[in-house]
Amino acid sequence: MLGKLIKHEFRATARTMVPLFLILLAVTLCAFAAFNFLTAGLGGMFAAMFMFLFFLAVLAMLIMSFVLMIQRFKNNLLSDEGYLMFTLPVSIHSLLWSKLIVSTVWFIAAGAASVLATMLSTARAVPRRRRGLARHGPELQRHFRAEQRGLCAGAGAGAAAGLRLSVPAVLRGHVPGPQLCPQQGPVVGAAGHRIFHRGPDAGHHLAGRGVSASTPSIP
């Protein structure tokens, strides 16, 4: 029965993973072609674009194989589908094993595909008679690596900035977006709402915080 579970688990996950592999293949071939056959100028721009897309495709595949594993456990076993899965004439162990085995296979496949794709996209089609941009091979490879670093640094900085903005806001309990408080009259955020309840003086706090204090209807 484990075999059948694995078969159906592959069927369910291939829907998501196979298109990603195909995208990676297409982008890799484009990057390979651009790297080898495009000439400088506008061609160089295309080459750089395909390299960027290539990194995105690799990143998407690695992240997706991880997200998919979590999603399958959650949706297939812990949501309404669990009624179907946990009443199959199979043991719970084999249910869990089938999911672990299949997601491990996808992890390995995604890793192997990334390595192969990197090798292919940076390979030189015509090593002796260098043509087009390949003449600038070392230089482009430097760009390639720089872009990789830039991508990671950019993602890290973006995430850090996002956390810097969102975490303190959440901790303070300040819900962004206006809320209607009909009794108080003016439209304020949740934090403002709390301040209003303290009494009429609270309006000064609001003004001090840069929130519009044009609120004559405070009781």
Binding site: H8, D80, Y83, L84, T87, L88, P89, V90
Partner: protein, 231 residues
């Protein structure tokens, strides 16, 4: 040997008792209505029979065995909710059931699907709520199981669909099998039931044949239910 047996079965969720000291035995070849108001323990009993829950006390036996992979091969279960994966189409669903249940009769399922005018390539996602329930019921009733446990099979559908569902259930079950239907829509199922179980607050208050109820009380099951469970 009874196909379904409870001995002093109890189940509580934390401090809240859902079933207390239930003794019950169902013989093969009966259509049994498990009738009770909301929150009386109907779904809990059926979930225990599928091994989705474990008893807090006592035991429940399916064909003499505790619920597990072996008993699940004998039981065909219709959950209270639609649990078929949304991304699958009808063909994939039939493949799935064929692979896991050796008693699945694919030709019968295909016939009923065609009768409803559902395309084999149509995915569950594209179906209406009522169609999803019908497809799930067809899958469940296409098995030649020993025990069918149907939890609220006519809960959320219109009266015409109710008739279709009840017809499907009666037309497809093996006369040697036992069918346990849980519902609170008694008038709709009353005519097909052999036996009736009234359950209230986790306890069996009545277990009799429908003929006995009609002769002794001179009332329909629906009327008796309204009297017993009067608020």
């Amino acid at each position: 040997m009874p196909i379904f047996e409870c001995r002093d079965l109890s189940k509580s969720y934390g401090d809240v008792p859902a079933l207390s000291h239930v003794d019950l035995a169902l013989e093969p070849g009966h259509i049994v209505g498990l009738l009770g108001p909301n929150g009386s323990g109907k779904t809990t009993l059926i979930k225990l029979a599928n091994g989705l829950l474990t008893p807090s006390g006592g035991e429940l036996l399916i064909d003499g065995q505790k619920p597990g992979p072996a008993t699940r091969a004998l039981v065909s279960y219709l959950p209270e909710r639609t649990g078929i994966p949304l991304w699958m189409n009808v063909t994939q669903l039939l493949d799935f059931f064929c692979d896991f249940y050796t008693d699945f009769r694919r030709d019968r399922a295909e016939e009923m699907i065609a009768h409803l005018g559902i395309q084999m390539k149509q995915s569950v996602k594209e179906m209406s709520k009522g169609t999803r329930e019908k497809v799930q019921l067809i899958l469940v009733m296409s098995r030649a199981a020993r025990l069918y446990l149907l939890d609220e099979p006519i809960g959320g559908v219109d009266p015409a669909t109710r008739d279709y569902i009840i017809g499907t259930i009666i037309g497809n079950y093996d006369p040697d099998a036992t069918l346990l239907i849980s519902t609170h829509l008694i008038a709709d199922v009353e005519n097909v039931l052999d036996d009736v179980i009234f359950i209230n607050r986790g306890q069996i208050v009545l277990h009799a044949t429908t003929d006995e109820i009609r002769e002794q009380n001179n009332k329909s099951v629906d009327t008796l239910f309204r009297e017993v469970f009067k608020c």
